[in-house]
């Protein structure tokens, strides 16, 4: 009986001490986020949009490519077509919902891949220092010598249209800036006293990185990556707008914007709808990213 009793105390007393230290920061971040109404509002809109496009096949009244040319360019509010129809008579609401899946996917995936790849390379460069750092950062400089939109267009233009090529070209654009941020934060942390102390007490590279570096650099790198999502959405849809990226008849906001350019004289409101979706998504991501940066107290 005594054993149960003492272990009960141990469970109550010992572990929470560590855990408490660990989550006061996150609790503070959560508290600050809860007070930030703009961020909460934008986050809510993003979640609503995410849910709508995730369940697009269930929510959308029609299929994304169903339509008849007879019913083309019906105005907003037409019975049965809440947001009207496009230049081929397809239901706009259904196409916007389905199109969001492509736009979000092509917009977010490159940043996610670049976060993993660029983050790892940057942390390695920052932690290794010396010649390895030099080599990695000089190669990064080369890709920095291209304006980002130009690089994205040139690479995906050479690779040809298609969703995979668009994602690849955007990933190439976003890896270098993430490497730079990751490298500079890691270099900063590496030279701090606690990392120095760990090294002095004989900790191996692996344990220094896992215990001391990663927990301190992942936050800033992540916040920086979230600030790229807004741009990524715009450029991704921009590629499709140019005719690179997603191919018709698949719906994608940028591509829809392009094909609806012929309708600016007859149905200008409908022609601008996909752009409003891109704009809303991008604004919300940028506000949420700003809110995260403030709440997490990141300066980078």
């Amino acid at each position: 009986m005594t054993t149960t009793y003492s272990s009960g105390i141990a469970e109550d007393a010992a572990p929470p001490k560590v855990a408490e230290n660990d989550d006061t920061y996150w609790r503070a971040v959560g508290r600050r986020l809860m007070r930030d109404k703009v961020t909460l509002f934008c986050g809510a809109i993003l979640m609503l949009m995410a849910a709508l496009i995730l369940f697009a096949p269930l929510v959308a009244p029609y299929g994304p490519t169903d339509g008849s040319i007879v019913r083309r360019l019906k105005p907003i509010g037409t019975p049965g077509h809440l947001l009207g129809t496009d230049e081929l008579g397809r239901d706009m609401l259904s196409r916007l919902l389905h199109g969001g899946r492509y736009s979000w996917f092509v917009g977010i995936t490159p940043v996610a891949i670049a976060f993993l790849v660029g983050g790892s390379i940057g942390i390695i460069a920052g932690f290794a220092g010396g010649k390895i750092n030099m080599a990695i950062m000089r190669v990064t400089d080369v890709f920095y010598a291209f304006p980002s939109v130009l690089l994205a267009v040139a690479v995906s233009g050479s690779l040809g249209a298609g969703i995979a090529n668009a994602i690849m070209s955007l990933t190439i654009v976003f890896i270098p800036p993430i490497i730079r941020v990751a490298e500079s934060v890691t270099t900063g942390v590496r030279n701090l006293d606690y990392a120095e102390a760990a090294r002095a007490t004989g900790a191996g590279a692996r344990s220094i990185v896992v215990v001391h570096i990663l927990p301190n650099v992942l936050g800033p790198i992540f916040v920086y990556a979230t600030s790229l999502v807004g741009v990524s959405m715009i450029v991704a849809s921009g590629l499709s707008f140019l005719g690179l990226g997603i191919k018709p008849p698949d719906p994608e906001w940028g591509l829809m914007l392009n094909t609806l350019r012929s309708a600016i004289y007859s149905q200008p409101m409908i022609a601008t709808l996909p752009g409003i979706c891109i704009f809303m998504t991008s604004v919300c991501f940028n506000f949420v990213s700003d809110g995260l940066r403030t709440a997490m107290d990141v300066r980078a």
Binding site: D141, V142, F143, A145, F146, P147, S148, V149, L150, V153, A154, V155, G157, S158, L159, G160, G230, V231, I234, S237, G238, F241, L242, G243, L244, G254, L257, R261, I264, Y265, P268, A271, T272, P274, G275, I276, I278, F279, S282, V283, F285, N286, F287, D290
Partner: protein, 317 residues
């Protein structure tokens, strides 16, 4: 200082070489044989071989790169596969058109950004700061190709005030500045200005609000200096970083105006690049990308040098 400038200028050489390599490789990352893009599918094999030899495509890649680079250095950017004439003259006139558009749009964006950012920074945390900051975030979040369409719908389709596309009479001759030509410049410039305006607003606001909370500003106030006296000090302290951001944005506008040029059919490098991509006109694609990237490199260098020379706080050895 002179050693720094020399080193910084010399660093241009390896960077430019690497940039050229990337532009050269663009063609070779494309799936399939680059020759397929140059000839009709049913061309006899002898003709294909002749074309291949003509473009040096039968040589190993490093040799090809060397030959291409040698020509580029001599000002020979190759011959357009579609038009059958040298790329360079077209590229120069397109660069001119893009330059005019980027400068006008840039100027508009920078002035707006400095004014908005300055006001927001001075009145930090007031309602006007919050409004301007929200406008700035909206500015960097606008898909500018969509904004271009909206402006066309409002000012061309509905109000019939401004032209929807092109660069005015005389096509790409955008060096004439009379109302007949400026009319065509207005909508694309506004469209192009929005993103840099947002970025500059955020930068300037941060700088100004930081400077305003410094001790020396308090000292100036204590000495009885009025607001317009303090402004001079704030401007001088915020200028170097602001100029650096503006320079980078201008460079980005030159290379990034492809979407706006497509919307407004502006006869610049972006249009040229767009056409080259869809016609698989590889020499044009390579040359345009290279020229824009090199322009970006040089402008970056200038920004760095100017910033170093006007900001005594940066010591570079």
């Amino acid at each position: 200082m002179i050693a720094y400038i020399l080193r910084r200028v010399l660093y241009i050489v390896p960077i430019s070489l690497a940039v050229s390599l990337v532009c050269f490789m663009l063609v070779h990352i494309a799936p399939g044989d680059p020759i397929d893009a140059m000839v009709q599918p049913d061309t006899p094999k002898e003709v294909i071989d002749r074309v291949r030899a003509e473009y040096g495509l039968d040589q190993p890649l490093p040799v090809q790169f060397g030959l291409w680079l040698l020509k580029v250095v001599q000002g020979d950017f190759g011959t357009s596969l579609i038009k059958g004439r040298p790329v360079l003259p077209d590229l120069i006139s397109a660069s001119g058109a893009t330059f005019v558009l980027a400068c006008t749009g840039g100027l508009l964006g920078f002035v707006t950004g400095c004014v908005f950012g300055g006001i927001a920074g001075v009145y930090r945390d007031s309602w006007i700061d919050r409004v301007l900051l929200a406008v700035a975030v909206a500015g960097v979040s606008v898909p500018h190709y969509w904004l271009g369409m909206v402006l066309v719908i409002i000012f061309s389709v509905n109000l019939n005030m401004l032209p929807a596309m092109g660069a005015g009479p005389g096509g790409s001759a955008v060096s004439i500045f009379d109302w007949e030509h400026i009319r065509y410049l207005i909508l694309p410039s506004i469209t192009l200005a929005v993103i840099p305006a947002g970025i500059v607003t955020r930068t300037v606001r941060g700088l100004v609000s930081d400077i305003m909370s410094q001790d020396y500003i308090t000292t100036l106030r204590g000495k009885g200096l009025r607001r317009h006296g303090i402004v001079g000090h704030v401007v001088r302290n915020a200028a170097p970083t602001t100029l650096a951001v503006i320079g980078l944005q201008l460079a980005n506008l030159m290379g990034g105006s492809i979407l706006v040029e497509t919307v407004f059919a502006w006869p610049g490098t972006g249009m040229m690049l767009n056409t080259a991509i869809f016609q698989r006109d590889i020499p044009v694609l390579q040359a345009t990308t290279l020229v824009l990237a090199l322009f970006f490199v040089v402008l970056n260098l200038l920004v760095d040098l100017v910033q170093t020379s006007i900001d005594p706080r940066i010591s570079r050895r």
